[in-house]
């Protein structure tokens, strides 16, 4: 069964040549085919696919709102949307993208599909909770859709009081309830993963033999478990305030609006790491496989994921430097924020060191990785401008902030997600996609992204505030550039929406291990995997990124 493909550049062509033994007839996709077998499935792989469908739809929806925003900002005057509709558009964009797309994106799709396989088990610890988490997610989505249909919400995704309390229109609570509900889906996923990683690893799969993607998922899950309940209770408190008419956050009634911001960011800052950490994990897998080399600094990358999760919980007040935070508190939070750069930097340098003297191949997932590392680095570095107290006063709530977090959450997180989808697509579907189109898509996304968001750094620096639908005429050139870039970006994102589903039906059959990777999902699982993942207990003797076995087999095959 040495279906290991050596020459990754001719991946598609060589796919069927080594198929000596016939594959088992059944896999997780075709062993049951009724609709109920999908909707009520307890199989982590199928649940991952349900999520993939869900978040893809939400991505298109969120993207449509982004399109409205960029169209409005083509011209300095508010001619396309009224201020009110504009407010509702960016709120919908933020809420949909963050809660319905980014947070569940990698954990619920790739994490669900891969985590049990990567650690050599048949399923997550709680398959029923896993399915429940999908339906809870869907229910939350229904509430948010309802809030949109009822006329939308104009508070921004942050739901700051008093915008969400005193001055809110009635739909705020519907949307907030949606966010509250979705939070539980996130908690269930996180809880499931933590228990699975602790208790379900295959014999021999020690902590430091786990793939770095699993480490990243572990760190992410910890944040989901620790952060999400706090935003849930915060939303509940806003609910009490609105329905009971009391001043928990309303200063006129003795309340403290800053308390809302503290509680909100205690979750929502770590939530940024829920979005980016999984991508960092994907990046570690990609760089190792496509450099054909063990990850440089495996241990420290694993620990840096945990470090980011921990630091992530002690930096929240950097969102409030201009909200009347005491100077000393601000200084402490500034220093702590800088410290997040350390584990992030460790990762970036370790990836670069991994590629050094590696046998780097330019398969499409690696192209996405290159895009990822560039955008993530810019996003991370500009974060330092904002954690500096003095510059933050100038840049706070400007387009500089918008550009910064899009570089992390779109540039970093979605590029990682795309890389991951392309990397594991052959495993998930058993089919190869069109490499050329994938590379073009990666290039379009990278170019389009930079055209969209790089000008926004300048706009922000020049003082253009976020969340306004009008701006002075002298800022139009940069805004037009940004809008044009967004169009290219949209094409880049939509292309995979065509060739990936196409490959699912018509693509060439994928071999077991098309990229020559070392993790269990490639070495011990068919493409696509059987319903119970493994036919036997997967053996784990070696360090996870050990290419020596593969190289030996390669030597045998080639002679």
């Amino acid at each position: 069964m040495s279906a290991i493909n050596l020459d990754r550049r001719v991946v598609g062509e060589a796919a069927s040549t080594h198929e000596a033994t016939p594959k088992p007839a059944t896999n997780y996709l075709n062993h049951e085919t009724t609709i109920a077998s999908w909707l009520l499935t307890l199989d982590h792989k199928r649940i991952g696919l349900l999520y993939l469908v869900g978040i893809s739809l939400m991505f298109v929806l969120g993207g449509a709102f982004a399109g409205l925003i960029r169209l409005e900002l083509m011209t300095p005057k508010g001619d396309l949307l009224t201020g009110d509709v504009y407010n509702k558009s960016f709120t919908a964009h933020g809420v949909v993208m963050i809660f319905l797309f980014l947070i569940p994106s990698i954990p619920a799709v790739l994490g669900n599909f891969l985590l049990p396989i990567m650690i050599g088990t048949k399923d997550v610890a709680f398959p029923r909770l896993n399915l429940l988490s999908f339906y809870v997610y869907a229910a939350g989505g229904v509430f948010l859709a309802l809030a949109l249909l009822l006329g939308g919400v104009d508070t921004g995704w942050t739901f700051y009081t008093p915008l969400s309390s005193t001055y809110a229109n009635g739909n705020v609570m519907v949307a907030a309830l949606g966010v509250f509900v979705i939070g539980f889906s996130s908690i269930l996923t996180g809880l499931n993963f933590v228990v699975t990683i602790h208790r379900m690893r295959a014999p021999g799969m020690t902590w430091f033999r786990m793939p770095l993607f699993v480490w990243a998922m572990y760190a992410t899950s910890l944040i989901q478990i620790l952060g999400t309940p706090v935003v849930a209770i915060t939303i509940a408190l806003v609910g009490f305030e609105r329905f009971l008419g009391v001043g928990i956050f309303d200063p006129r009634l003795g309340g403290d609006p800053i308390l809302f911001q503290h509680l909100f960011w205690f979750y929502s800052h770590p939530a940024v790491y829920i979005m980016i950490l999984p991508s960092l994990g994907v990046a570690s897998e990609l760089v190792s496989t496509f450099s054909r080399k063990g990850v440089f600094g495996y241990h420290i990358i694993a620990c840096s994921s945990i470090a980011i999760a921990i630091f992530g919980f002690v930096v929240w007040a950097h969102h409030m430097f201009t909200s009347g935070l005491s100077q000393y508190a601000a200084m402490v939070f500034s220093v702590l924020t800088f410290s997040v750069a350390i584990p992030s930097g460790i990762k970036v340098f370790s990836w670069l060191a991994t590629m050094y003297k590696g046998s780097v191949s330019l398969a499409s997932p690696m192209i996405f990785f290159f895009g990822f590392i560039g955008l993530f680095t810019i996003g991370g570095m500009t974060g330092l401008f904002l954690s500096t107290l003095g510059t933050d006063i100038h840049l706070h709530d400007t387009y500089f902030v918008v550009a910064h977090f899009h570089y992390i959450m779109v540039g970093g997180a979605i590029m990682g997600f795309m890389g991951g989808i392309h990397y594991w697509w052959p495993k998930i579907t058993g089919r190869m996609y069109n490499e050329t189109l994938a590379k073009i898509s990666a290039a379009l996304i990278f170019v389009g992204f930079n055209f969209t968001f790089f000008p926004q750094f300048f706009l922000g620096y020049m003082g253009m505030p976020r969340r306004y639908h009008e701006y002075p005429e002298e800022l139009q050139v940069l805004n037009v550039l940004s809008t044009v870039g967004a169009s290219v970006l949209a094409i880049g994102y939509l292309t995979p929406g065509i060739y990936l589903p196409f490959s699912f039906f018509f693509g060439k059959k994928a071999p077991k291990n098309p990229w020559g990777a070392t993790t269990l999902e490639w070495t011990e699982c068919e493409s696509p995997p059987s319903p119970h993942n493994f036919d036997h207990n997967p053996p784990v003797y070696d360090h996870v990124y050990d290419y020596s076995t593969l190289n030996k087999e390669a030597a045998v095959v080639s002679h």
Partner: protein
């Protein structure tokens, strides 16, 4: 919970002697399943700690900000009933621990008895809470419904004066069956005026937190009753024994957690005034 039914004809396993009926297909052994379930509950409790943590944070912030009014507001609560409930709840934890023990040694009947005792103690707790909340409502301490701080203070003063010389037992009984002198409820104008008073606003924040915290706590107990019923049903069918008692233990963890929340709520809400010596 369904019996193992692996469709795969390949070697699912190493234990050829057949699976325990309660072993789910994706676990290797009952021991692994037990460990996973216990850890799962602990993780859930971690989320609960953070959930209540938000409330405790809000409480801490406002207690520091409105120290004096929090003491006064705290003095409106009934320490005697709070103590009684604390004892009841601790007893229920004991019976729950006994239920887990009974499951471990395989005594089905005892499991049911102890679960029953736990449920009864839990109901007693909610019963006492009902009388407390009813009293709060009568003296106009419920935000939104009828909150009127001045009125509540007056009623409390009268009651204290009235019951000063009564023996403890009759005071205690009076809390449940005693009749109240009828007072004209505060007029809308009085309430509106009261709401503009900063003292009233601050006391109201205390009561919002009080109702939110005790309310969410009570909700957790109600969920607990459902879980007890489910576990009792399975226990009555002889599901649990020395080999497999995971759900009973998981339920135990949950119940103890709900008790511990109360152990924090009681001093923070009820004893605050007495501790800081304001009021009396």
């Amino acid at each position: 919970m369904s019996a193992t039914n692996t469709k795969s004809d390949t070697a699912q396993s190493h234990d050829n002697h057949g699976h325990h009926p309660s072993l789910a297909h994706h676990f290797v052994s009952l021991e692994q399943q037990h460990e996973a379930n216990i850890l799962g509950m602990w993780m859930f409790l971690v989320t609960e700690v953070l959930f209540f943590g938000g409330l405790f944070t809000a409480y801490t912030v406002y207690r520091l900000k409105f120290n004096t009014m929090f003491q006064e507001a705290s003095n409106q609560l009934d320490i005697t009933l709070g103590c009684l409930n604390t004892v009841v709840l601790i007893l229920s934890s004991l019976t729950m621990a006994m239920a887990v023990r009974s499951a471990q040694i395989g005594k089905t009947k005892q499991i049911l008895n102890y679960l029953g005792a736990t449920a009864i103690l839990g109901l007693m707790f909610l019963g006492v809470k009902y009388f407390e909340w009813k009293h709060d409502f009568e003296i106009h301490l419920v935000p939104k419904a009828n909150f009127c701080w001045d009125y509540a203070k007056e009623r409390r003063k009268e009651a204290d004066h009235h019951e000063k010389d009564k023996p403890f037992v009759s005071k205690l009984i009076g809390k449940f069956v005693g009749h109240h002198e009828e007072h004209a409820p505060p007029s809308a104008a009085e309430i509106a005026k009261d709401h503009k008073n900063p003292e009233s606003q601050q006391a109201r924040i205390f009561f919002v937190l009080y109702f939110a915290m005790t309310g969410i706590h009570a909700l957790h107990m109600i969920i607990g009753f459902g879980l007890i019923a489910a576990v009792a049903y399975w226990a009555s069918r002889g599901t649990y024994g020395p080999e497999y008692y995971t759900p009973v233990e998981v339920l135990g963890l949950y119940w103890h957690f709900v008790d511990i929340v109360w152990i924090f709520l009681f001093p923070l809400l009820y004893l605050l005034g007495a501790h800081l010596g304001a009021g009396h």
